[in-house]
C-alpha cells in the first residue's frame, strides 16, 4: 500500500489530447496494491490508451468482480462509471450495463480467479453473447489476496513460492475465448506497455467481444524461479505473433517499419487497424489456426503474445437481438409503457 498520494502537479510539457485532457485526467485513486504489482501497470496502460483515444472519461463504464485485479478499476478513469460487483459475476453486470446503454465503452476487469474459477461459467457465456466490451484478465496464476494459492491458470509443474509443484492442468482463457467465438483475442504482458497500450486501444474500438489476457506478475507470491508467470520467465519465453496498432481517423500514420509483413484493416468507425505479422506462418484472421498455435506454444512452455485473432466485421449482442439504435436507458415512459392496447396486441402474439 502507498500512503503518499500522487501529487497533482505534472510535467510542464505534458501533452494534451484532442479533447484538451492529459493522461493525468485518466488516472484514478492511488493504488493500494502491493508495490510492483503487474496490475498497476495494466491500469496505467488503460489510462494511457483511453487518453490516446481522446474519449471523455465519463463515456466509459468499468465493471469488475472480486480480487486484486478487480480492485484496479478504482485506480484508473477516476471520472467514469464503475461497478465493483460480485465474485465471478462481472460478466452479468457488464451485459446488463451494455444492454442498457450501448453508447458507453464498457471495460470489464477480472482476474484468473474471478474468470477461470468461480466465474468460468459466466466468462464462457459472455463470450457467446458477443457483448461489445473490452474484457481484461489480469492473469498472475495465483490467489494473491488469500496469500498465494495456485489459481486455475497456473501451469502444471509450476511451483509455489515455497517450492511445492502445481498438480493440475491450467485453464487457458485465450483458448476458451477463441473456441467459443470471441471476435478479438489477444495476449500481452504487463511489463510491455509498447505492446499492451495499442492492443487496449484496438480492443476498445473493436465492435464485438474483445478479450485480452494480460500476464501480470504477482510480485509477492508468484515472481520466483519456479513460476511461469514471473517477470523473468515471461520475458524469456515470450514471442509476439502480431503487433497491432490502431490509427484513429484524425491521426497520421507514422512510417516506422520493423521486420515482418504489414496488413491494414479498415475499421467501421474510419480508423485503421495495422497488423504487423512477426511470424510469417501466423494468420490473425484464422480462428482454428490461432487456436492450434496457442495450444502448441503452451505445450512447449512458450507464451505467445500480440493480437492472436481478430474478426474485423464482427457483430455484437445488439445486432443479434436487433435492439433499437437509441440506447434502452434513453426511452421515456411513453415508449416503455405503451398502454393497455399495445399490451393486448403483444399478449395476442403469444396465444
Amino acid at each position: 500500500m502507498t500512503f503518499v498520494a500522487k501529487p497533482k502537479v505534472h510535467h510542464p510539457l505534458l501533452q494534451f489530447n484532442e479533447i484538451g485532457l492529459t493522461r493525468r485526467d485518466y488516472e484514478g485513486a492511488v493504488s493500494t496494491l502491493c508495490a510492483g504489482c503487474g496490475h498497476d501497470s495494466v491500469s496505467a496502460a488503460v489510462a494511457i490508451a483511453c487518453n490516446e483515444l481522446a474519449i471523455p472519461p465519463h463515456r466509459f463504464a468499468k465493471i469488475s468482480g472480486i480480487g486484486c485485479s478487480s480492485k484496479t478499476p478504482s485506480y484508473f478513469l477516476g471520472a467514469s462509471h464503475g461497478f465493483n460487483s460480485v465474485h465471478g459475476r462481472m460478466p452479468s453486470v457488464a451485459t446488463g450495463a451494455n444492454l442498457a446503454n450501448h453508447e458507453l465503452h464498457c471495460i470489464g476487469v477480472s482476474g484468473d480467479g474471478d474468470s477461470a474459477s468461480i466465474g468460468v461459467g459466466q466468462f464462457a457465456h459472455i463470450v457467446r453473447r458477443k457483448v461489445n466490451m473490452l474484457y481484461i484478465v489480469d492473469n498472475n496464476g495465483t490467489y494473491g489476496l488469500t496469500k498465494g494459492q495456485f489459481s486455475a491458470t497456473n501451469d502444471r509443474g509450476s511451483t509455489s513460492k515455497k517450492g511445492v509443484p502445481n498438480l493440475y492442468s491450467p485453464i487457458d482463457l485465450v483458448s476458451m475465448a477463441l473456441q467459443i467465438g470471441a471476435s478479438f483475442v489477444a495476449r500481452s504482458f504487463s511489463g510491455d506497455k509498447q505492446q499492451l497500450v495499442p492492443l487496449i486501444k484496438a480492443a476498445i474500438m473493436h465492435k464485438g467481444f474483445a478479450f485480452i489476457d494480460v500476464i501480470s506478475p504477482c510480485v509477492m507470491f508468484n515472481n520466483h524461479n519456479g513460476s511461469t508467470k514471473s517477470y523473468q520467465y515471461v520475458r524469456e519465453h515470450t514471442a509476439s505473433m502480431v503487433d497491432a496498432q490502431l490509427v484513429m481517423p484524425h491521426e497520421q500514420i507514422e512510417i516506422e517499419y520493423a521486420p515482418g509483413t504489414l496488413k491494414e484493416v479498415d475499421m467501421p468507425d474510419g480508423s485503421v487497424l495495422r497488423l504487423r505479422k512477426i511470424s510469417e506462418t501466423y494468420d490473425p484472421h484464422d480462428r482454428v489456426g490461432a487456436l492450434n498455435h496457442v495450444q502448441r506454444a503452451q505445450e512447449q512452455g512458450d507464451v505467445i503474445t500480440g493480437l492472436l485473432y481478430v474478426d474485423p466485421i464482427a457483430s455484437d449482442i445488439h445486432e443479434v437481438l436487433e435492439t433499437p439504435s437509441t440506447p434502452l436507458n434513453q426511452f421515456g415512459e411513453a415508449e416503455l409503457c405503451p398502454g393497455s392496447e399495445a399490451l393486448t396486441t403483444v399478449n395476442a402474439g403469444f396465444r
Binding site: R24, C34, G36, S41
Partner: protein, 593 residues
C-alpha cells in the same frame, strides 16, 4: 551514454539546485527541514557555518538560490529561501554552545585583514579557531563595511547587523577602526604572515555630462550619500530628487530619500525595466512606496541657472537586439526634461585601491583589478589575498562569504608551508538512506501544492516616516513552517541499484512528473528525445543506469523531479531508494570540523 557516476560529489550537488547556485553552497534543504521542525538554532548554525551572516543575508541577500529553485520549473514560484533564512535567525535560541572554540594559545601566525566588511569578517571567523592572531583595520568607526554603510536601516536594522558582526569580532579579532590605510607597502613592512584585502568597491561612478561641474553641490554619489546617512551625517534631503541608476543602490537611494523628506523622488534608468540590475523585490518595494521608475532614458545634460540645478534632460531610446546583445537606439521622440533639486548618482561602483603601490609585487590588470588565482584568491604577491568586491568587482555579500572561505583555506595552507592550490582538500559526498519503515521516510516526502506565501510588511505610513522601521516583518513561526513545507527536499536523492531492478514499470507509472524511462541506450541527444517526457532542459543531467537484464537502461531526467519518493515507495525490490546527499564543501573553522 555511460552510466552516471553518482558518487562523484558534483553529480548530486548539481541536483540540489539552490545549493549549487549559492556561491557559499549553503545546504538549503537541510536547514529548511530544520525550520519546519522548529529547530531554529540548528538551522541558524547550518547557515552560519556556510554563509557566516544568516540574519543579515536573510534580509539582504541577492538570492541566486531562488531563481535556481526547482519549484520555478515545476510550479512557477520558488521557495522563499531567503526569508526562511531570516526565520531561523529571528527565532533562534542561544547559539553559544554551538560556536567553535578559539584556543587561548595562539599558533604564532599573524594575519592582517584590510577592511572590516563581510569578506574580512568571514576570513577572521574561519581562521580564529585554528589559533591565528587576526588584526583587522578599517577606516570607518565600526565594523561591517558596506553592510553597515550602504544598506539602509529599513532593510537591515542595526541590531541584526551588530549581533552578527560583534559575534565574530568578539571571537578575538584585534580590530582597529578609524584607520585609513594609505600604503600597502607600510602594511607589508609590518611583516604579517598573510594579508587579506577586503576593502570592497568603494568608488561610486560619476557622469561627466555638460553642466556636471557647475551643479556639483547638488549631486551626490549614491553609496557615499547612503554612507553619510548610515553614520548620521545626513538626516534630510529637500525638494525634488532624481535617482539615476537601476541597481540595488539606486533602489536604496530612492527609498531613503523618500524617508528623509524629499518632496518627490523619481528613478530614471538608461536601460529597460527587465534588464535593470536591481533585484525584482527591490524594484517592487520601491514602486509600492509610490516611487516612479522611468526606463530607457539616458541623461544628456544637467540644466542649471545661476549655479542652481534646475533639472536633467534625458534622451528617449528603445532597446533592439543585435547579435544576441541589447543595443539602445533613439526613438526619435523629443528629449525629456525632468525638474529636480538634487541628484543621487547610483550608476555603479568599482574597485579602487590607490593605496596599493604598483611596484611591490601586486599586479593589476587593465581594468585596475588585482590579478588573482580564481581558486586560491592569491595575488601575484604570495602573501596577499583578495576577496569580496575588491577581488573581481562589485558582487554581493554572499560572494564575499564564499571568497572568504576559499581565501582562509589558502592562507591556512600557506602558513603550513603547503601549496594553496595543489593541497586543497577535495569535496566529499555522503549518501544516507532515508528509509525508516515500509512506508516511512526520514523526511517529509509528501508534495505540498501551496503557492509561495507573502511576507507581511510594516504599516506603510509608519515605515515611510521613520528610516529605522524595518519594512519587511519576516515570516512568523506559522508562516515560516508553511513556507518551509514547500521545499522539495532536492537533497534527498533518488538512488537506483541496477541489480535489484525487475523492470516492473511501477516507478514509471507512479512518477507524477514522468521523469523515469526504461529505454535502449543511446547518445545523450537521442536519449533526451526517447524519454516519456522529452528532457529539454540541457542544464539538468540525465541519470543513466548500467545495462539492465532486458538490455535496456533506466534513464531519469533530474529536471523536474519532485523528490516525492513515490518511485522508491512503489518499488518492490528497493532498487530505488531515497538517500540524503550530504555534500562536504571544504571549509576551515566550521563547528563541524
Amino acid at each position: 551514454m555511460n552510466p552516471t557516476d553518482i558518487h562523484a560529489p558534483e553529480y548530486f550537488h548539481r541536483v540540489v539546485d539552490c545549493q549549487w547556485a549559492c556561491p557559499a553552497h549553503t545546504p538549503v534543504p537541510e536547514y529548511i527541514r530544520m525550520i519546519a521542525a522548529g529547530m531554529y538554532t540548528e538551522a541558524y548554525m547550518i547557515n552560519w557555518e556556510s554563509n557566516v551572516f544568516p540574519g543579515i543575508l536573510g534580509r539582504t541577500c541577492d538570492r541566486p538560490c531562488e531563481p535556481a529553485c526547482r519549484r520555478v520549473r515545476t510550479e512557477e514560484k520558488p521557495v522563499a529561501i531567503c526569508r526562511l533564512k531570516r526565520v531561523a535567525a529571528d527565532h533562534k535560541g542561544d547559539i553559544e554552545s554551538f560556536l567553535p572554540q578559539v584556543p587561548n594559545i595562539k599558533n604564532g601566525k599573524r594575519i592582517a585583514l584590510l577592511g572590516a566588511g563581510p569578506a574580512s569578517l568571514a576570513v577572521a571567523r574561519d581562521l580564529l579557531p585554528f589559533g591565528y592572531t587576526v588584526d583587522m583595520f578599517d577606516r570607518d568607526p565600526a565594523g561591517g563595511g558596506m553592510m553597515r554603510s550602504q544598506i539602509p536601516a529599513f532593510r537591515l536594522p542595526a541590531d541584526v547587523l551588530e549581533e552578527e558582526v560583534d559575534l565574530i569580532v568578539n571571537m578575538g579579532v584585534n580590530a582597529t577602526y578609524g584607520y585609513e590605510i594609505t600604503s600597502m607597502k607600510e602594511m607589508l613592512d609590518m611583516n604579517y604572515d598573510a594579508y587579506f584585502v577586503g576593502t570592497g568597491a568603494p568608488r561610486g561612478r560619476d557622469l561627466d555630462l555638460p553642466g556636471r561641474r557647475e551643479v556639483d553641490e547638488h549631486i551626490s554619489i549614491g553609496i557615499d550619500w547612503l554612507s553619510s546617512v548610515a553614520f548620521g551625517h545626513t538626516t534630510s534631503i529637500e525638494g525634488k530628487v532624481i535617482v539615476m541608476g537601476g541597481g540595488n543602490t539606486a533602489m536604496d537611494c530612492c527609498r531613503t530619500s523618500k524617508r528623509l523628506g524629499a518632496e518627490t523622488v523619481t528613478v530614471v534608468v538608461r536601460s529597460g525595466f527587465e534588464v535593470m540590475k536591481a533585484s525584482e523585490w527591490e524594484k517592487e518595494d520601491a514602486m509600492s512606496e509610490g516611487i516612479p521608475i522611468i526606463n530607457n532614458r539616458p541623461p544628456k545634460e544637467f540644466v542649471h541657472e545661476d549655479g542652481k540645478l534646475k533639472g536633467v534632460i534625458f534622451e528617449c531610446v528603445k532597446p533592439i537586439e543585435e547579435d544576441g546583445r541589447l543595443k539602445y537606439i533613439p526613438t526619435g521622440e523629443p528629449d525629456v526634461f525632468i525638474e529636480c533639486d538634487h541628484i543621487l548618482m547610483a550608476i555603479g561602483q568599482e574597485n579602487h585601491c590607490p593605496w596599493i603601490e604598483r611596484d611591490i609585487g601586486i599586479e593589476f590588470d587593465k581594468w585596475d583589478c588585482p590579478i588573482l588565482d580564481e581558486v586560491t584568491l592569491q595575488s601575484t604577491h604570495p602573501k596577499v589575498f583578495f576577496g569580496g568586491d575588491s577581488a573581481f568587482g562589485p558582487e554581493n555579500i554572499i560572494w564575499a562569504s564564499a571568497h572568504a572561505h576559499q581565501a582562509a583555506i589558502s592562507i591556512h595552507l600557506m602558513c603550513q608551508d603547503l601549496d594553496p592550490k595543489a593541497d586543497r582538500p577535495p569535496e566529499g559526498l555522503n549518501l544516507i538512506s532515508q528509509k525508516m519503515g515500509v512506508h516511512e521516510w526520514a523526511y517529509d516526502a509528501e508534495h505540498d501544492a501551496s503557492q509561495r506565501y507573502l511576507v507581511p510588511h510594516a504599516n506603510r505610513r509608519r515605515s515611510l516616516e521613520n528610516i529605522k522601521v524595518e519594512v519587511e516583518l519576516g515570516f512568523d513561526e506559522i508562516l515560516g513552517s508553511r513556507e518551509a513545507q514547500r521545499c522539495l527536499n532536492c537533497d534527498v536523492q533518488t538512488v537506483f541499484t541496477e541489480k535489484l531492478c525487475i523492470e516492473c514499470d511501477a516507478c514509471v507509472d507512479i512518477c507524477p512528473m514522468d521523469c523515469i524511462t526504461f529505454t535502449p541506450n543511446a547518445e545523450e541527444t537521442q536519449l533526451r528525445d526517447y524519454l516519456t517526457a522529452p528532457a529539454t532542459n540541457l542544464e539538468q543531467a540525465l541519470y543513466v543506469s548500467d545495462e539492465l537484464e532486458t538490455g535496456r537502461v533506466m534513464v531519469k531526467d533530474e529536471d523536474v523531479c519532485l523528490h516525492c519518493g513515490l518511485c522508491a515507495e512503489r518499488c518492490p525490490t528497493n532498487a530505488w531508494d531515497m538517500q540524503k546527499s550530504i555534500i562536504h564543501i571544504p571549509q576551515l573553522g566550521s563547528y563541524a570540523e
